[in-house]
């Protein structure tokens, strides 16, 4: 019988090497089912590359094992929608015609109002919610979010993460999200993986508030001269 403690993802000695550089080096961890993993690290640390590995988009060495039946929903960081005349309805229907209105309701978008709008005119928060609706439309049990609140104002950001937490609780979804925000990591994730091409930390997210852990993840603090 499956339980909350069963792992859904097991990664061993994962390395990714592009022709001129090593992007990920010897990463190993396990993720429990129904938990949220925040992935942090500086730019170029390999966070998005890890997602590409999980989506089987790039070659790698090592072992990546999904346990049981897994359906992945993915929200990428960069999208190009401003020049494409595509409505929210048409975008969501790329994945099929059933479940469109349900998924919009789950993410808190009024389907009557939003379906006929063009993706390019949506606000940052609306677009992110539409993308989450896209990701959940075919009822995945794993969600990958690459910086899901980039370009979104603070109020919308909190609302989106609150919505993701509720989604996770109600549907026992496992979430992996890339974020630069410490308070997001602390408040909305269970575990944290810190990358800097290699794995520098893996543990419970609340440990990010520990100064020793912060030193490991972000390096030593550099003192400045006192402000006059």
């Amino acid at each position: 019988m499956e339980s909350h403690n069963d792992p859904i993802l097991k990664i061993s000695n994962l390395s990714v090497k592009f022709p001129s550089e090593l992007v990920l080096d010897n990463v190993s961890f396990q993720l429990q089912k129904g938990t949220t993993l925040a992935i942090v690290g500086p730019n170029g640390a390999g966070k998005s590359t890890l997602f590409r590995v999980l989506l089987n988009l790039v070659p790698y060495t090592g072992k990546v094992e999904w346990v049981g039946k897994v359906k992945i929903g993915y929200v990428p960081q960069r999208l190009s929608v401003s020049d494409i005349p595509i409505s929210v309805r048409e975008f969501l229907r790329f994945k099929g015609t059933s479940g469109v209105e349900d998924s919009l309701n789950v993410v808190g978008l009024d389907s009557k109002d939003i379906l006929n709008k063009t993706l390019g005119v949506l606000s940052g928060g609306q677009l992110q919610r539409a993308l989450i609706a896209w990701a959940i439309i075919d009822k995945p049990n794993v969600l990958l979010f690459d910086e899901p609140t980039t370009g979104v104002d603070l109020d919308s950001e909190e609302a989106i993460y609150k919505m993701l937490s509720e989604l996770k609780e109600e549907n026992e979804i496992t979430i992996l999200l890339i974020s630069h925000d410490l308070h997001i990591v602390r408040d909305y994730s269970d575990y944290m993986l810190a990358l800097n091409k290699c794995m520098t930390f893996f543990g419970k997210s609340k440990e990010i508030m520990n100064p020793d852990v912060q030193k490991i993840v972000y390096g030593e603090a550099v003192c400045i001269a006192s402000v006059q």
Binding site: L79, P85, L119
Partner: protein, 251 residues
């Protein structure tokens, strides 16, 4: 043919590949010239072979050379045009550049219709995949779309349409058919369905109006090609005015 060119062109404009549409049409010229010089049953066979080869080269360049892609395509098609003009026999040059609808036979017409229908059908099956790839290549790939193969198939279909359009409007102007109707449709569209339908209709209207006008004027020195382009540009200008007057959401 105008309908299918408009439909396929709707994707070309979204992909910001308008230059590629023009490039493909110019590249056909040296192929046509070789077809004439080699006494092929139809010079269009040579043109088509060059179009196919160019589509594959352009596809490959787009994958390996992000920087300078437009420069490379621009250089390629101007070179092709120059070479084509140099080697095309003079009596055939005008027809190759501007087309001659009076020389379109029944066989050509039937082949053009069949190719147009097949191209529309095949494009319809990959339309959503292409658009998804434009929105995000990663998103498309994560849903199982082979972005590279889909783009190649699309370019080959565009080559087919350009090839059948050369007979009517010539190599110099056939690129118009895959660009301007779509640009006009974009002025009036807030969703993909309307955009693709309007693009197809405007393509058909431009072609029909230009050909009918050529027949009506019946001037031997005025081929249909430029009149097709003028009709299409007129439609484009009208859509700009309509968009401005209705204050439509711009794209």
């Amino acid at each position: 043919m105008g309908f299918s060119a408009g439909y396929l062109g709707s994707l070309m404009v979204l992909e910001k590949m308008a230059l590629v549409g023009d490039a493909l049409s110019h590249v056909a010229l040296p192929g046509l010239a070789l077809g004439i010089l080699l006494n092929l049953p139809d010079p269009l066979i040579g043109g088509f072979a060059f179009l196919l080869a160019s589509a594959i080269i352009i596809w490959h360049l787009g994958r390996v050379t992000r920087l300078g892609f437009e420069t490379l395509v621009g250089a390629m098609f101007t070179l092709a045009l120059a070479v084509g003009i140099l080697i095309t026999p003079e009596p055939d040059l005008l027809e190759a550049l501007f087309g001659d609808i009076t020389k379109v036979s029944l066989v050509h017409t039937v082949i053009a219709i069949i190719i147009s229908v097949v191209a529309i059908f095949l494009t319809r099956t990959i339309y959503n995949k292409l658009v998804l790839g434009m929105i995000s290549e990663e998103l498309a790939t994560s849903t199982g779309v082979n972005v590279a193969k889909t783009n190649l198939l699309y370019l080959l279909l565009v080559s087919l349409i350009v090839a059948i359009g050369i007979k009517i409007v010539g190599t110099l102007l056939v690129g118009f058919l895959v660009v301007v109707p779509a640009a006009a449709a974009r002025n009036l569209s807030s969703n993909l369905f309307r955009y693709s339908v309007l693009s197809s209709i405007f393509g058909a209207l431009s072609s029909s109006a230009g050909i009918l006008l050529a027949g009506y004027l019946n001037l031997p020195s005025v081929p249909a090609g430029p009149l097709v382009v003028l009709s299409g540009i007129t439609i484009f200008l009208v859509t700009i005015v309509v968009k401005w007057r209705l204050k439509l959401t711009p794209f």
